[in-house]
């Protein structure tokens, strides 16, 4: 018997709202009222969800709704401008005839494919300037997406280097069969002996997490796979979901049997919707093979998996925000303690694990911990999938044993004249060239897998500016330091990058950054100032070069701020300037 809390997948608020957005191109007040009634939810809850997630809109979008990634690796807003000009529409606006709307969105996880976008929620990769012209014609002719060149929608794996996880083959059910005769405690021991730590970024010991959850008091338990993969520059979970979905689901099933859960949820980021049909198909095949459902493989336990699809909110990768999102609420991180292992989904003990963690867990059960510890360092066992992107000849997925140096990776990826590497995404660290002997490992440079390369042709200050905009856009807004602070930091970078900053502004940013890092409610705010802090620390000359002057005086450009008045009065003569 499954828990009474179990959601009907088709009735999930996020899915109902997605369908409404597709059908009506926006979510009207009337739709909010009727959806609230239909799902028996407070109207304000539905409204707050609509307003929280980027992919839901209160005013109509175009019949072709296009969102360009604004990531430093898979975005290029010049191409967005080009399409806007071709189609005569302003960014973030819908054309008067309702045909098209064009805007931008945070990284869509296609960093190995060059410039990418979402059209009506579906991923389109490797876009060139010529293609933009062709696309504009298809849109003007209202050509259905099904008739667009199929090659545009291709998402490759780009696996460049295989290690422990990617090199070995996996037979669906193999790891479950390997569980026979071993109880939950033995499985936990195996995973603990392998030294597996979470691959989502925080690096919590997986065996310990499962143990805590198994021992926690509850009516039921849940397994959640975190496939939100929102950190700009990260796309390794995409490859695992695309080519190793069976292993992911098997890892979830094993966890379910160990902790005593009957229901699992895969939380898939909205940007990966194009994979949904294939994932559902894999789930169905597993049910047919007796690998999901009741009395799995005759081992005497029941387990099934639902997929919940996000709608454009980086914060939903934070585990407690993710849980809120599965609970049909805005993704606002919870107060911790209690942690999800004791009070997670619907208040019940819940394991939240990253996709890669679950793949590794399944493989450890299959091959044993000796196999796993053959790779890595003694504090960081096993391998890590890195998503390598940016300025290099061979972007893609590289699986290394922990302990690999940045230099070795740059060499493999064919990167030259490297100015800096951003490890772990904007929330991670900006590493200057004289630190490239450092190693990828929990004890040195921990990372969820994002590895972005910036060569000397890049304006690094603009990269930092881009990251500051990202956090201001993605802050959930729950706590004061992050809600206000990320916007203050973005404003500070706006000012410096536009050449209006002074040493005073850098000083102010430092002060705000320190406060936001230390006083915020969750990991987003705690890491949001990292790019600015690392930038000021390792590349102070870049900031100095852009400053108006070095005095500790705030600068106010009176002439520039009169621009609005000049526009209003249609004046631009000498008298109207200072």
């Amino acid at each position: 018997m499954t828990s009474s809390y179990q959601l009907n997948q088709t009735d999930h608020l996020l899915h109902v709202l997605f369908n409404e957005q597709q059908k009506s191109l926006h979510i009207s007040n009337a739709a909010i009222t009727s959806i609230a009634a239909q799902l028996n939810l407070p109207r304000a809850q539905v409204e707050s969800v609509v307003d929280f997630y980027s992919f839901f809109h209160r005013t109509p979008r175009g019949r072709f709704d296009i969102l360009f990634s604004n990531c430093t690796s898979c975005g290029d807003l010049k191409l967005m401008q080009q399409l806007c000009e071709r189609l005569q529409v302003k960014p973030d606006n819908t054309r008067a005839d309702g045909l098209v709307s064009i805007g931008q969105t945070s990284c869509i996880g296609m960093c190995d494919h060059g410039v990418s976008l979402l059209v009506n929620g579906i991923t389109l990769t490797s876009i060139s300037a010529q293609q933009i012209d062709h696309m504009a014609e298809l849109i003007e002719a209202e050509t259905a997406l099904a008739q667009w060149p199929a090659s545009w929608f291709k998402v490759g794996n780009n696996i460049r280097k295989e290690g422990l996880l990617l090199a070995s083959s996996f037979e669906p059910g193999g790891a479950l069969k390997a569980m026979a005769g071993r109880d939950g405690a033995a499985i936990i021991d195996e995973i603990t002996a392998a030294g597996l730590k979470g691959r989502g970024g925080a690096g919590f010991a997986t065996g310990m997490k499962w143990k805590f959850c198994r021992e926690a008091q509850g009516d039921t338990r849940y397994v959640v796979c975190n496939a939100d993969e929102g950190e700009p520059g990260t796309f390794k979970d995409r490859i695992l979901l695309n080519s190793h979905a069976d292993t992911v689901f098997e890892g979830m099933t094993i966890c379910g049997s160990v902790i005593g859960a009957k229901q699992g949820y895969l939380y898939l980021r909205g940007e990966y919707r194009y994979m949904l049909a294939a994932l559902e198909n894999t789930l169905q095949q597993r049910r047919e093979k007796g690998l999901l459902g009741s009395n799995i493989l005759g081992l005497g336990f029941d387990f099934d998996i639902h997929i919940v699809i996000g709608a454009g909110a980086y914060i939903c990768g934070e585990e407690s925000a993710l849980i809120e999102s599965i609970e049909e609420k805005p993704g606002i991180p919870r107060i911790r303690p209690p942690f999800p292992v004791t009070q997670g989904l619907w208040g019940q003990p819940t394991v939240v694990n990253n996709v890669e963690t679950l793949v590794a867990a399944a493989r450890i059960v299959l091959h044993g911990h000796h196999w796993f510890v053959s790779s890595g360092t003694w504090q960081s066992r096993g391998s890590k999938l890195l998503s390598v992107s940016g300025d290099c000849a061979r972007p893609g997925i590289y699986e290394y044993g922990f302990g690999i140096t940045i230099n070795e990776i740059l060499n493999d990826a064919g990167a030259e004249h490297v100015q800096a590497v951003q490890i772990g995404g904007p929330a991670g660290r900006l590493i200057p060239a004289d630190h490239f002997e450092h190693r990828i490992a929990f004890e040195d440079l921990a990372t969820g897998g994002s590895f972005m390369i910036f060569d000397h042709s890049r304006d690094l200050l603009e990269v930092i500016h881009n990251f500051a905009r990202f956090f201001a856009h993605e802050s959930c807004g729950f706590c004061t330091p992050c809600r206000v602070g990320t916007t203050l930091l973005k404003n500070g970078m706006d000012k410096i990058c536009s050449g209006h900053g002074t040493a005073h502004d850098v000083d102010e940013m430092n002060r705000t950054a320190a406060l936001v890092s230390r006083r915020s409610h969750c990991g987003l705010g705690m890491t949001a100032p990292n790019p600015i802090r690392d930038g000021v620390k390792y590349f102070p000359e870049l900031f100095e070069a852009r400053l108006l002057h070095q005095e500790m005086e705030p600068e106010f450009n009176l002439d520039a701020s009169l621009e609005e008045a000049r526009n209003l009065t249609h004046r631009d003569d000498e008298e109207a300037h200072l």
Partner: protein, 254 residues
Amino acid sequence: MITIDGTEVPFEAGQTIMDAALAADIYIPHLCHKPGLSPHGSCKLCTVDVDGRAVSACTLPAAEGQKIENNTPALNEVRKTITQMLFVEGNHLCPSCEKSGDCTLQAVGYHLGMLDGHFPQFYPRRAVDASHPTLMLDRDRCIMCELCVRASREIDGKDVFAISGRGTGRQLIVNSATGKLADSDIETDDLAAHICPVGAILIKDHGYEVPIGRRTFDLHSVAETDLEEIILKKTVHHDQDDESVEKEGGMYSA
């Protein structure tokens, strides 16, 4: 026992650091916390350092042996900055606000020695809702503390308010078909109608009954005020109690 700024403070199992401090008459600045409502942990004004780690006093359970720093110059500087953040992200024109003098945000600003907003104003555009016959919603002043949200849910047994949106776009919304307060089931006597620490939810027809200069925080600093009392007395406080005015002097009295 826990230690707050060197003073030993007892606590009971299940109490947060804030609970223990309040019981011992130690003031930890706070805005989104109110005893009797579930803790929220959003304003971060109650940030304290526990054994060197930054935590919210209103949400962290007290635990044996915690060494807590609270009333230190460094922490009060942090709190002042957080208060300034709250001021600049909204539209707080205190001299024209009915809540002036009874406003906890303003009082905390005074307590922390805040003299200006420090940061450039955000000037958000937020809608006013004057639809209700006895209540008034001025979102410009909302600090997203969700006290009204929780009071409605946990004490009034209703679900009148919620916060919608993301980041600096967050806004208070009303749970009614039109989104208007008049169409909700809020009543003037509800705690949710009175709990707002700032001038975002106001009772109509009771403006300026207590003259400025004689209001709660004109007479007492926020650190020595029982915030519970303000809500209860709301419109009838201090009118006769003029002796203390002479003695202590109000914020605005010469």
